[in-house]
């Protein structure tokens, strides 16, 4: 038997428009419950929706970035089902005529390109948020449930892929690229933890080319849990098939703490959503000139930028992926490159020490206290051997903490390396004179002695001797 993993994703991205999809309420995250609401998003009797033009523009922009066709005349549908976090007990969504459809996104996996089909990108409204109080933590058996409608009506772009992904790794790579794409377009905050980016997956195992039973996985709230859940499910299904068990088509819930999936409800019990065209909204017929204007607004997308970074700056795969995964990070890098310093060195500093500092301080790159110009300064100081690599790390940390420029720090602290050959020569002579034994050992070829003498030089110069030059001097004098 030959097994093949088949994965398709369904992604929901909250769009970061100023107001909600069908009313004027603000979309800001984290307000006190039920403060960003109005009669419209609370579904009061008699209210009507009016579509948010910016949300339509954002969805078209996303469709264009994913190589989709823009539908000349798309419509909204009502998706009917009862749930207390849905004010109207129907969700305004799109059904058989989405805003954009039939595109692709190319993912690079270890040098191989995988073109993943995009079935559709459509626009809909988000629901409110329920908190179920009680032991069950679910609506069933809850003592009571609390509803927060701040999120109700926030515009959501739904992206559905074809079942073109072949492994959990590919699914994760795709999701990361899609996240980067949304981020480059600046249409979503893309925070999986806050729920502004959500992902469900369909996974099945084809056996000898025959399609398997599709299982839907929900509740994956990070890239890591997406990967873990799909890996678990991949294993579970393969094992079941090998055991001769029959898999059921169902929805399974990923339990991140336990590291397992368990059945949520079977498709047979699924709601009949009774879709029908939303009579309160008119069809969306985007003016072709407007679509072209939007196309003109498309920035360089993550995959294009990654390829350019590799070619233009000679960056490694790993570093190029990392820098281009976030638009602001890539922008930072390119501004640093403008200082004329070596791009590879700059990239290393950003991908290594700087990203670690940002992470520790929980600061986004946009608010990095060290300007790209400052990083260029730092790399220049190392290149000119004014400071050592080790000293540069400390200077970077201080620049990050204080916001001072690297040059300023080096000068203020008198940190610059003694790279003056004459000055260093005198120090080395002193050290040799004071340590005749070690000098003798050194002449005898003992490596240990070099280290000792270097230590003495550093001690005398309070660490400011250029290590390379000092070592060369000692060797020259004692061999």
């Amino acid at each position: 038997m030959e097994f093949e993993t088949i994965i398709g994703l369904e992604i929901h991205a909250e769009l970061n428009t100023a107001s909600k999809m069908f009313c004027g309420c603000p979309t800001a995250f984290g307000g006190a419950p039920n403060t960003s609401t109005c009669p419209i998003c609370l579904g009061h009797p008699g209210v009507l929706p009016v579509a948010n033009r910016e949300a339509v523009a954002d969805t078209i922009l996303l469709g264009l970035a994913l190589n989709c066709k823009i539908t000349p005349r798309s419509i909204f549908h009502r998706k009917n089902y009862f749930y207390p976090d849905m004010p109207k007990n129907f969700q305004i969504s799109q059904y058989d005529i989405p805003l954009t459809a039939d595109g692709w996104l190319e993912v690079e996996m270890e040098g191989n390109n995988r073109r993943v089909g995009i079935t559709r990108v459509h626009l809909e409204e988000d629901t409110g948020k329920s908190v179920h109080i009680g032991e069950s933590g679910r609506i069933h058996g809850a003592d009571f449930s609390l509803e927060d409608f701040n999120r109700a009506g926030i515009p959501l772009a739904e992206i559905v892929t074809e079942p073109d992904l072949r492994s959990p790794e590919e699914a994760r790579a795709f999701m990361q690229l899609l996240r980067a794409t949304l981020e480059y377009l600046q249409i979503s905050d893309c925070k999986m933890e806050e729920g502004s980016l959500r992902c469900d997956a369909n996974i099945s195992i084809a056996v000898d080319g025959a399609m398997g039973t599709k299982v839907e996985i929900k509740n994956m709230n990070s890239f890591r849990s997406l990967f873990r859940a799909l890996s678990y499910e991949d294993e579970r299904q393969r094992f079941a098939i090998k055991q001769g068990e029959t898999l059921v088509q169902e929805t399974r819930h990923w339990d991140d703490a336990a590291g397992v999936t368990h059945p949520l409800r079977s498709k047979e019990e699924a709601f009949d959503y009774r879709y029908f065209p939303e009579p309160d909204l008119v069809p969306i017929e985007p003016d072709p000139a407007w679509v072209e204007e939007l196309r003109g607004r498309l920035p360089e997308l993550p995959m294009e930028r990654l390829r350019r970074f590799r070619e233009q700056y000679g960056l490694s795969d790993e570093i190029a992926v990392m820098l281009t995964s976030e638009k602001a990070l890539a922008d930072y890098f390119e501004r640093a490159v403008e200082t004329g310093q070596d791009p590879v060195e700059l990239a290393k500093w950003i991908a290594g020490d700087l990203v670690a500092l940002l992470k520790d301080a929980v600061v986004p790159i946009q608010s990095c206290p060290l300007e790209p110009r400052g990083l260029g300064e730092l790399v220049a100081l190392v290149a000119q051997k004014v400071i050592s690599g080790k000293m540069a790390k400390e200077v970077l940390k201080e620049a990050f903490d204080t916001g001072k420029g690297p040059k300023e720090i080096v000068e203020a602290k008198g940190l610059s390396q003694i790279a003056d050959a004459g000055e260093l020569d005198a120090v080395v002579d002193e050290v040799i004179a004071a340590n005749p034994e070690a000098a003798e050992d050194m002449r005898g070829g003992k490596e240990q002695a070099l280290k000792f003498l270097m230590g003495q030089v550093m001690k005398k110069t309070r660490g400011q001797a250029n290590p390379e030059m000092a070592s060369d001097l000692i060797k020259k004098k004692l061999t």
């Binding site: 609370l42 009797p45 209210v47 579509a51 109207k88 809850a142 509803e147 309160d280």
Partner: protein, 486 residues
Amino acid sequence: MDLTFSGALEIAGLIKNKEITSVEAVEAFLARIDAVEPDVHSYINVSADIARERAAAIDSRLSAGDDAGAFAGVPLAIKDVLSTRGFPTTCGSRMLEGFVPAYDATVVERVNDAGTVMLGKANMDEFAMGSSTENSYFGPTRNPWDLERVPGGSSGGSAAAVAAGEAPWALGSDTGGSIRQPAALCGIVGLKPTYGLVSRYGLVAFASSLDQVGPMTRSVGDCAALLGLIAGHDPCDSTSIDEPAPDYLTGLDGEVKGMKAGIVKELSSDGIEPGVLERFNATVKALEGLGVSCEEVSLPSFEYGLSAYYLIAPAEASSNLARFDGVRYGYRTDLESDDIWEMYDETRAAGFGGEVKRRIMLGTYALSAGYYDAYYAQAQKIRTLIVRDYGRAWDSFDVLVSPTSPSTAFKLGEKMDDPLTMYLSDICTIPVNLAGIPALSLPCGLAEGLPVGFQVMGPPLSEAKIMNVAYALEGVLGFEPRPPLD
């Protein structure tokens, strides 16, 4: 002079000329309401105190020389399906008993801006579903012409209030005839505007693609005036037509000579009561007397209008009424349960009346997987055919005419056990809603002491034209809308 049987334009003139004050006008109508409400029950809630306060405020603005609006101080009844900020809006349902909206419907805002004074919220069939106003949770309204009979529906409260002198004019809503049929049965003028001419924002939806708000008045002039107040683009309603509304009042000149009227065969022969048919034919003669050529026309798709309507309207209603679930507002069951679905079931079982539940069931079924194509999609095709039939008719005719209702007012309880017979009350009015065109019902005399309505239909946005036809007819018919109530 009896103020309560004066038209709105007349009252506006009296107030403007300082012959009466707004307070006097309001008090006259409140007194009339006190006198006849026990018999007629046109209102669910009378806003007496608010009306008195507002009238006094308008009077002081007027005496200060301020412009308080074109209809400053003129009283008005509003169907209880329109959202009124700070005043209960029940839709005739237990589900919304005591519900106080947080906002005004756009049409309410507009009549307020014109200076009118709301007397109260008029009775109606629950959520506008019905043709007799017997489906109101708050009890039926009776026809001022015969208290044993229904006023029609669903805007029966608005129609009865105007007919009984409890309001000079009223706002109603019409999904399948809910303005025109009660107007006909109560002997007043009622107009269903072109879909999209009047904002639906704040009109509690029954069937969104069919609903329109419209005027219910004692005369065609008042009808033109009230339509003028409420018509026009509203950015809060995506289906609102983005064009300025004309001045309907100045367009009323009675010049109809040379126009062509089509008598719709399918709406004016089978199933029409002889008394109604007699008045209808007499009115056609009167129309011919005005120089309008009248000729029969067949619009075959109309045969399926009722069936299509009773799929589309309930389908949309099943979704529109889903929000009444006991979670955020309105009625909630007292039953203690830890199961939300049980709470929904009990709330909706007790909160909705029988007809509403019937239509929710019908609509849910029509939209269900496996049935959608056979029912909802098929009904939409019939709708397209009806639009086409009308479209063809406009090539040959300026307006189309028919009786508004196949019968005069029927007795209370007569059709309550037979929904299909009740549904047939709207057979003449339904095709208009399916096509989105405007139509007006004009009182054209009595049959055995009960009013008969004459329906004038026109192409989209032809309100000025159909009102002008009705205006010319009104002049020659000489009908006095005053029931023998006292």
